[in-house]
């Protein structure tokens, strides 16, 4: 049997593209978890909200893309900050499962509101990049995937660099490792909390635009958040690097499972992997072993 190398290459590229999108969304999960120890399941719905806001501005109001993108991201900042200040901060310190349920509730409200405003039918975003296919060697890739992959990679690289070299990231690290001690050293812990939620929500909104650009938008697209949560847990809830590695891995596995076994095997392969990982190494590939805190 001859192996169709071009086909394999195409699957690999689409897997990497999907993985990059998961990685960007994963950064939002990690940022919030590292600082506030909250697993925010509403990330998926925030992403959907961002995509719909972009859809409303460009397709319905007819604003130019270059105006809409910054507005959506700014909206994400305000949304995340507002959420943290009004609902999450008073809940901090309660059992993690309670806070997790609160974020599920928030997600459910967002889905309902989006359905009320924009209806339940799926939509397509206006084409931002040309629909012309691109050939990497002999393999075919859609130009949308290349653009979204490039942006995703840039965002992740930016956050890795910022967290490594920016002085302010010390505040974040200090707060993450011991909020009480950080507070007594003069770090404005509440502001770090606020910032982490604001930035994470902005990332999620931006990721929503990218994902909507590739696959279209619908009120159910928030389910993507659940797959990303799996990825983040496998990579280690507090590790951006781990999220990156596992996101690409899961993207590849999903793509191969989807192509060779059938579409219904995509989700099952992710969750089986997750169950195995939780069994063997509960804190994930690169995470810190502190599971007893939960």
């Amino acid at each position: 049997m001859t192996v169709d190398w071009v086909y394999l290459l195409e699957i690999t590229l689409s897997g990497i593209g999907a993985g990059a999108l998961m990685a960007v969304t994963g950064v939002a999960f990690v940022l919030i978890y590292r600082v506030t120890r909250v697993v925010n399941l509403a990330i998926g719905e925030t992403l959907m909200l961002g995509a719909y806001a972009f859809f409303g501005m460009t397709s319905i109001l007819g604003w130019p893309v270059l105006v809409a993108v910054p507005l959506v991201i700014a909206g994400g900042v305000l949304f995340g900050a507002g959420l943290e200040r009004t609902i999450i901060r008073p809940m901090l310190g309660q059992s993690p499962v309670s806070v997790f349920m609160v974020t599920i509730g928030i997600g459910s409200i967002i889905v309902g509101v989006v359905q009320l405003i924009w209806g339940i039918a799926p939509h397509r975003l206006i084409p931002i990049v040309s629909e012309k296919p691109v050939f990497l060697g002999p393999a075919y890739v859609s130009s949308k995937s290349i653009v979204s992959f490039t942006i995703a990679a840039a965002v992740i690289a930016f956050f890795l660099l910022v967290l490594r070299f920016w002085r302010g990231s010390l505040h974040l690290k200090a707060t993450a490792s011991d909020a009480g001690a950080a507070y007594s050293c003069g770090i404005n812990v509440p502001r770090v909390y606020l910032l982490s939620w604001a930035v994470a929500s902005a990332i999620a909104c931006a990721a929503g635009i990218l994902i909507g650009m590739v696959g279209g938008i619908s009120p159910e697209m928030g389910v993507f958040g659940l797959s990303v949560l799996c990825v983040v847990i496998m990579g280690g809830l507090d590790s951006i690097l781990g999220t990156l590695v596992v996101a690409l891995l899961v993207g590849l596995i999903d793509a191969f499972a989807g192509s060779f076994l059938g579409g219904e095997f995509k989700q099952i392969s992710t969750f089986t992997l997750l169950l195995l990982m939780l069994w063997v190494r509960p804190h994930g590939l690169f995470g810190t072993a502190e599971i007893d805190r939960l």
Partner: protein, 348 residues
């Protein structure tokens, strides 16, 4: 305190206790009469909701044993209900056994699968456990939708009406006599459980697992037991569900159902038997009340019928967020506070 004052206090306490006992007996009496009379008093429509609430009470009580009393949150509860429902459907299709046998068997099958899931999952706690149970339920869901030879894939299975002495129990008025007594027995069993050694061990694990281990409770064994019991309740609820709706598909028990039961406990009052009952009744009726309310608004709102699903989702989220944020002990605590303030007003 003077002897006379002491006497007065003793008398007052005695009458108070006496009155409390009287109230309790009255409550039991009224409930018993209502239980027997309900199928003759209410219309099919109301009995439909009574039966559905009763089914949800069984399932919520099961989740309460696990989450409310043992402190282990599970997002796989719906999958265990599905196991119960599929067991009934398969036993009914291939063997044609009576519901008297299939309902308990549905519970036992669900408990067996629950233990199978619990053994690897219980290595982790808290949120990780919740996520491990999501993974397990996705895998079960996958089996239900793809094992065509047994589960008939996405088309699902049809369940024949339950039969008793030649009568087909195919409407809520008749099924009431199966569902509601089962619910009463299951709830009574659960409330008695927490007066036994096992139940107290669960509570000790919930309050502080390390201290529980120190006073000699084998953690893994009791957590496993709690998981099995909870799955048994879910399985029985799923079995009743199968006889009630008479068709079981992989989409009958989505992950939203698991979230629904967590919400039931949050809204009703977690860790109290009454909370599971009130929460199940409330959360089952809210969507229907919203439908009635929005339909009544029809003359004034052109699109009131089309927005019902969206409004339901929003209200569901608002209830979860609102109760966790403002009244974490749920409706039980709210009612208790109302009652206390009412009593205080009467005394003064």
């Amino acid at each position: 305190m003077t002897p006379a004052a002491k006497m007065n206090l003793a008398k007052a306490t005695a009458t108070h206790i006496g009155r409390e006992l009287l109230y309790r007996r009255l409550l039991w009496g009224v409930s018993a009469v209502l239980f027997v009379a309900a199928p003759f008093l209410f219309s099919q429509y109301w009995l439909y909701w009574v039966c559905l609430i009763a089914i949800n009470v069984v399932s919520a009580t099961g989740l309460n044993i696990l989450w409310g009393y043992t402190g282990l949150a599970s997002l796989g509860h719906a999958a265990f209900m599905a196991v119960g429902a599929y067991s009934v459907a398969l036993l009914d299709k291939h063997l044609g056994w009576s519901f008297l046998v299939t309902i308990p068997l549905g519970g036992f099958f669900a408990a067996a699968i629950g233990l199978l899931v619990a053994i690897p999952s219980l290595r982790v706690r808290g949120l990780y456990l919740a996520i491990a149970t999501i993974a397990a339920s996705v895998i079960l869901q996958f089996i239900f939708s793809n094992w065509d030879a047994v589960t008939n894939g996405m088309k699902g299975l049809i369940v024949q009406p339950a039969q008793f002495a030649g009568v087909q129990l195919d409407q809520p008025r008749l099924l009431y006599w199966v569902i509601v007594p089962t619910t009463i027995v299951m709830v009574k069993m659960a409330s008695n459980l927490f007066r036994t050694r096992v139940g107290r061990a669960f509570i000790a694990i919930r309050d502080r697992d390390i201290s529980a281990e120190l006073i000699g409770i084998p953690l893994f064994k009791y957590k496993l037991l709690s998981f099995g019991l909870s799955s048994f309740y879910a399985g029985v609820a799923g079995a009743l569900w199968a006889y009630f709706f008479r068709v079981v598909t992989p989409e009958s028990f989505p992950i939203e159902t698991s979230i629904f039961f967590l919400a039931v406990l949050i809204v009703g009052g977690i860790g109290t038997i009454g909370g599971g009952i009130i929460g199940a009744a409330f959360m089952t009726l809210v969507p229907e009340l919203l439908r009635i309310g929005l339909t009544a608004l029809g003359p004034w709102m052109a699109n009131s019928a089309t927005i019902i699903p969206s409004v339901r989702i929003i209200v569901f989220g608002v209830l979860i967020v609102g109760f966790l944020r403002l009244e974490p002990q749920g409706l039980m605590e709210l009612f208790g506070r109302l009652r206390r303030s009412f009593l205080k007003a009467r005394v003064s």
